[in-house]
C-alpha cells in the first residue's frame, strides 16, 4: 500500500495542481484573470444571490386565464359554425373549462356534433406527430346537451407554449434593465424561476407584474356606463381615476401585436412624459383607415383592461406612428415603453415565492463566511497538529489541498456558492480530517501491538479504508438526497458537502499516504511519531 509507481505519483500531483490552477482565479482581480493565457482556467466562484445580492422570484402562469381565453375563442367558433349550418341552440356559454350548449331540436344532435368536431385541429406534440390527437373533445351530455372541452394533449401544449412565450417576454423585459446573467427558466409544469443579481425586487416586480396587453378600442357612443351595455361592448375604468368608466366595443381596432417599437419621450407642446409608438405595415394601414373614417370620434388606448387615455381623432393618422399621452411620470413612461417593446405576456403571472437580498447583506455574509472559514480552518489545523505531530502536518497539508480542490471544482463547474454552501465547506473541513484520524488512530493501535513502523502504517491504511468508505458513503447519500430535493441556498450546501466528501476521501487517503510513503523512504524511521 505504501508503494507508489511513478505514474501514480504524477497523477496525484497533477490532480492537486489542477485544483490549485482552477482555484487560482479567485485571488486575482478581474483584470488579472482576463490577462491569463487562454489555456489557464479563468472562472471564479459563482456566488449565489444570498452572497451577491439580488432577487429570486418563483412565478406561476395563470393557466386558468389561458384556458378560459381559449374556450371563449372556441365558443365563438361554435356559434358561427352552428349558425352557418342552421342548427338552433340555446345557452351557449363557457362554464369553467367547458363550453356548453343545448340544442333546440334533439334530431339535429348528430349534425351538431359533426359540425363542432369539424372545428377541431390536430395537436402537434413532440410525441405524436400524426393527426390522431385533436384539440377539442366533444361530448353529448344528454338528448340535447353538448359539452366541449380541451383534450389533455391540447391543454398540455397550450400550457407549454404559454410558459415558453412568457419566458421569452420576461427575458426581453429583464434585459432592458441592463443586468448581467439573469436566470429565467421553467420549473415544473407551469412555473418560471427568475433570478436576477443586483436588482431590487421592487424594480423587478414592476416590470414582470404587468401583462402589458395593449389594445385600441372604439368608444361605444350608443350608451353610457350606467345604461344597458350591448353584448358586443364592455365597461372599463380609467387607469388613474377608477370611478371614471368608459363603454368600449369589445373587438379591438388594433392590438399591441402590431407594434414594432415604443419609446419614452416628452411632448413638444407641454413637456409631458409620453410614449411614442410605431405600427408595422399592416397595423399602420388598419389604423390609417380607421382614423380616416372616424374623424371627430374618440377612441380608447387600453392597457391590461384599464384605459390609459381616450383621445379624439382630429384627422386621419397615416404613417403608422402615434403617441400615448396619459398622465405619465418619466419612470412610468419609461416602464410602459419597455413593456410595449417586449410584448404582452400570454397570461398574468402570480408570485409564489420571493427571496431578495440587498447588496449590503450579501457583502456582510461574504465577510462573515470568510472569517468563519478562516477561524474554523485555523482551529482545526492547530488541533490536528497538536494531536498528531508530524503526521498531523501531513494531514494539514492534505487539508489545504482539499480546500483548494473544493474551490477549484466549484469554480470549474460554476456551481453556485451560497452562504449555507460556505457552511458546508467549513463542515467538510471539520469532517475531512476524520479519515486521517481513523487512519492515524489505527496506526497507533497497530504500533502498540508491536508491529514495525512500515507494517503498522501499512495495516493502518488498509484497515481504515473500509471504514472510511462506509462512513463517507452514508454522508454522501444524505447530501445527494438533499441536492435533489433542496432549492437555492440549501442546494448550495448539498453541492459543497458532496464535492467536499469526494475530495476529502482523495486527499485524506491518497495524498497523505503518498506523503507518508515519501517520508518513510527518506527517513527509514525506527518508530512512528504519532
Amino acid at each position: 500500500m505504501l508503494h507508489f509507481s511513478t505514474w501514480k505519483t504524477t497523477l496525484i500531483a497533477l490532480i492537486s495542481l489542477a485544483g490549485i490552477l482552477f482555484a487560482l482565479p479567485n485571488i486575482l482581480t478581474d483584470e488579472q484573470s482576463q490577462n491569463l493565457p487562454s489555456f489557464m482556467p479563468s472562472n471564479k466562484l459563482h456566488l449565489g444571490l444570498d452572497l451577491k445580492g439580488g432577487s429570486h422570484l418563483l412565478l406561476q402562469v395563470q393557466i386558468a386565464v389561458i384556458i378560459s381565453e381559449r374556450m371563449e375563442a372556441t365558443k365563438d367558433d361554435i356559434r358561427s359554425s352552428l349558425r352557418e349550418k342552421k342548427i338552433g341552440y340555446t345557452g351557449l356559454k363557457v362554464d369553467d373549462e367547458n363550453v356548453t350548449l343545448k340544442l333546440r331540436d334533439a334530431t339535429q344532435m348528430e349534425d351538431a356534433i359533426i359540425a363542432i368536431k369539424g372545428l377541431s385541429q390536430p395537436v402537434t406534440t413532440s410525441l405524436l406527430q400524426g393527426n390522431s390527437v385533436r384539440d377539442i373533445v366533444v361530448t353529448q351530455t344528454s338528448d340535447t346537451a353538448i359539452s366541449v372541452t380541451l383534450s389533455d394533449e391540447e391543454r398540455i401544449s397550450r400550457v407549454k407554449s404559454a410558459v415558453a412565450q412568457s419566458i421569452e417576454i420576461l427575458r426581453r423585459r429583464i434585459d432592458e434593465l441592463g443586468t448581467t446573467e439573469p436566470t429565467i427558466q421553467p420549473q415544473g409544469d407551469d412555473r418560471i424561476l427568475v433570478q436576477v443579481p443586483g436588482v431590487e425586487p421592487d424594480a423587478l416586480k414592476a416590470i414582470i407584474g404587468k401583462t402589458a396587453k395593449l389594445t385600441f378600442h372604439e368608444v361605444d357612443n350608443r350608451t353610457d356606463p350606467s345604461g344597458i351595455i350591448p353584448s358586443d361592448s364592455f365597461v372599463l375604468p380609467d387607469i388613474e381615476n377608477k370611478a371614471q368608466l368608459y363603454v368600449l366595443k369589445k373587438r379591438p381596432i388594433l392590438t399591441g401585436e402590431n407594434l414594432v417599437d415604443a419609446q419614452a419621450g416628452f411632448s413638444q407642446q407641454n413637456n409631458q412624459a409620453i410614449v411614442s409608438f410605431k405600427f408595422d405595415t399592416a397595423g399602420a394601414k388598419k389604423f390609417g383607415n380607421y382614423t380616416a373614417s372616424h374623424v371627430g370620434e374618440p377612441f380608447a388606448i387600453v392597457l391590461d383592461n384599464e384605459v390609459i387615455s381616450a383621445p379624439r381623432i382630429n384627422e386621419a393618422i397615416r404613417g403608422g406612428s402615434g403617441q400615448i399621452s396619459g398622465n405619465f411620470t418619466v419612470e412610468g413612461a419609461n416602464e410602459l415603453s419597455i413593456l410595449l417593446r417586449a410584448g404582452a405576456l400570454p397570461a398574468p403571472l402570480d408570485i409564489l415565492e420571493e427571496r431578495s437580498v440587498g447588496p449590503s447583506l450579501g457583502a456582510d455574509s461574504v465577510e462573515a463566511g470568510k472569517i468563519a472559514s478562516i477561524v474554523g480552518i485555523v482551529a482545526v489545523v492547530l488541533f490536528i497538529l497538536f494531536s498528531y505531530g508530524l503526521f498531523g502536518l501531513f494531514a494539514n497539508i492534505a487539508l489545504m489541498i482539499n480546500l483548494l480542490l473544493i474551490i477549484g471544482v466549484l469554480s470549474m463547474l460554476q456551481a453556485t456558492l451560497t452562504l449555507p454552501g460556505i457552511a458546508g465547506i467549513v463542515l467538510t473541513i471539520g469532517m475531512a480530517v476524520d479519515a486521517n484520524v481513523l487512519i492515524f488512530e489505527r496506526i497507533r493501535e497497530e504500533a502498540l501491538l508491536g508491529k514495525s513502523p512500515i507494517a503498522a502504517i501499512e495495516t493502518g491504511y488498509n484497515r481504515a479504508l473500509t471504514t472510511i468508505l462506509d462512513a463517507n458513503i452514508t454522508t454522501f447519500i444524505a447530501a445527494v438526497i438533499l441536492f435533489y430535493l433542496g432549492t437555492g441556498p440549501v442546494k448550495g450546501f448539498a453541492v459543497t458537502l458532496s464535492i467536499g466528501i469526494i475530495t476529502s476521501v482523495f486527499t485524506a487517503f491518497v495524498v497523505t499516504r503518498l506523503m507518508v510513503s515519501i517520508w518513510i523512504r527518506r527517513k527509514r524511521p525506527k518508530s512512528i511519531p504519532i
Binding site: 444570498d50 425586487p201 402570480d350 408570485i351 409564489l352 420571493e354 427571496r355 431578495s356 437580498v357 440587498g358 449590503s360 447583506l361 455574509s365 462573515a368 463566511g369 468563519a372 474554523g376 482551529a379 482545526v380 497538536f386 494531536s387 498528531y388 505531530g389 508530524l390 498531523g392 449555507p420 460556505i422 457552511a423 467549513v426 463542515l427 471539520g430 469532517m431 480530517v433 476524520d434 484520524v437 481513523l438 492515524f440 488512530e441 497507533r444 493501535e445 502498540l448 488498509n462 473500509t466 471504514t467 462506509d470 462512513a471 463517507n472 452514508t474 454522508t475 454522501f476 444524505a478 447530501a479 438526497i481 438533499l482 432549492t487 441556498p489 440549501v490 458537502l497 511519531p529 504519532i530
Partner: protein, 315 residues
C-alpha cells in the same frame, strides 16, 4: 514531533454497563422531545408556514422595537413578530401568511414599506425580503418530510447491504433517535425551524451514521477475531478502541461548527447550532444507543460459515 494523546490508549470504560442509565436518559429525552413537539410545537419559519420576513437595518442608531412593532402592528396583517437580528440596529419582521392566495403576501410588503416610510423616512435599509406563498410552503413541507425519510431509508438499505440486518436496525434506531431529539431541541429553544434546518437534519443523519459505522466496523472485525468473547465485552472493547477517534473527530467538527456559530452571521446560526447539537447527540447515540440495541438484537457469531454473503466487507 510526536502528537499529544487526548485519550490514553487501552481505555477500559464499561460503556455497555451504563446501558440502563443511557436507556433511561434516551427515553427521557425522547419523551421530552415528543412532549415539547406536541405542546410547545416548533417555531416554524415562513418556508413551512408561508408568510413574509423583512430584514431591515436602521441607519439612525439602534432600532426602536416598540415603535416599529406599533407601526407594523397597526397594519392589520395578523400575527407580526419583531426581533433584533445580530446587531441592535438590525430587525427581523416576520409576518404570518396572508389569507386569500399568493398575491396578498405581496401587498403586505408594500403596506409595511409604506408605513415605515411614513414613520421612519429614509432611515431604513431593506436588507432582505422573503415571501413564501401557501403553494410553495406546502410543497416545501412535503419535500422535506420525503427527504428525511428517503435519507433514513437509503442508509438503512446501505447498512443492511454492508452489515447484517441487526446492525442496520440498530443504526437506524440511533438515527431516528438523533433526529427526534434534535427536533425536540428546536422546540425547547424555539429556534426558527426552516428549510436549512432540514439540511442540518440530513447532515446529522450522515454524521451520526458515520460515527455508528466506525464503531460497527470495529465490532464486525472483533466478531471475526475474538470468536469466543462475550458480546458485552466485545462491544465495550470496540467502543474503547475507537474512542480516541470518536473524540478527536467530534472535537474537530465542533471546532469548525463553533467558528460558524460565532462568526458566520445570523443567517446560518440556526443551521450551525442544529449541527452542533447533532454532533453531540450523534456521538452519544452511536455509543449508548446503537451498540446496546445491537446487543439486544443479538448478532450471529459464526461468520466463517457465512462467508459467501459477507465477503465484500472483507478489506
Amino acid at each position: 514531533m510526536k502528537g499529544f494523546k487526548f485519550v490514553p490508549a487501552g481505555t477500559k470504560i464499561p460503556f455497555i454497563g451504563f446501558r440502563y442509565i443511557s436507556l433511561a436518559l434516551s427515553i427521557f429525552m425522547l419523551v421530552g422531545s415528543a412532549g415539547l413537539f406536541f405542546t410547545k410545537g416548533l417555531n416554524y419559519g415562513i418556508d413551512f408556514l408561508g408568510g413574509t420576513t423583512i430584514e431591515i437595518q436602521t441607519l439612525d442608531g439602534p432600532a426602536d422595537l416598540t415603535q416599529l412593532r406599533a407601526t407594523v402592528g397597526a397594519l392589520g396583517l395578523g400575527d407580526v413578530q419583531l426581533q433584533t437580528f445580530g446587531s441592535p440596529n438590525e430587525v427581523l419582521i416576520k409576518i404570518q401568511a396572508q389569507t386569500g392566495g399568493d398575491g396578498n403576501a405581496q401587498s403586505s410588503i408594500d403596506a409595511v414599506k409604506a408605513a415605515l416610510e411614513i414613520s421612519n423616512g429614509d432611515q431604513i435599509e431593506y436588507r432582505a425580503v422573503e415571501v413564501v406563498g401557501p403553494t410553495v410552503s406546502g410543497e416545501l413541507v412535503q419535500d422535506s418530510i420525503i427527504a428525511v425519510f428517503l435519507a433514513i431509508g437509503a442508509v438503512l438499505i446501505y447498512i443492511w447491504m454492508r452489515f447484517e440486518w441487526q446492525f442496520s436496525i440498530a443504526a437506524v434506531v440511533a438515527l431516528v433517535h438523533d433526529v427526534a431529539i434534535t427536533i425536540g431541541f428546536f422546540s425547547l429553544l424555539q429556534l426558527d425551524f426552516n428549510i436549512s434546518i432540514i439540511a442540518a437534519l440530513l447532515t446529522i443523519v450522515g454524521y451520526s451514521l458515520n460515527d455508528t459505522v466506525v464503531v460497527f466496523d470495529r465490532v464486525r472485525e472483533y466478531l471475526r477475531k475474538y470468536k469466543k468473547m462475550d458480546m458485552k465485552e466485545l462491544l465495550d472493547l470496540s467502543i474503547n478502541s475507537t474512542l480516541s477517534r470518536t473524540i478527536l473527530t467530534s472535537v474537530t467538527t465542533l471546532l469548525a461548527l463553533l467558528a460558524l456559530v460565532l462568526f458566520g452571521g445570523e443567517v446560518i446560526k440556526g443551521l450551525s447550532l442544529a449541527m452542533i447539537w447533532g454532533v453531540i447527540i450523534g456521538t452519544y447515540s452511536s455509543i449508548f444507543v446503537a451498540s446496546p440495541i445491537l446487543l439486544a438484537l443479538g448478532v450471529k457469531r459464526d461468520w466463517s460459515k457465512n462467508k459467501t454473503s459477507n465477503e465484500a466487507t472483507n478489506p
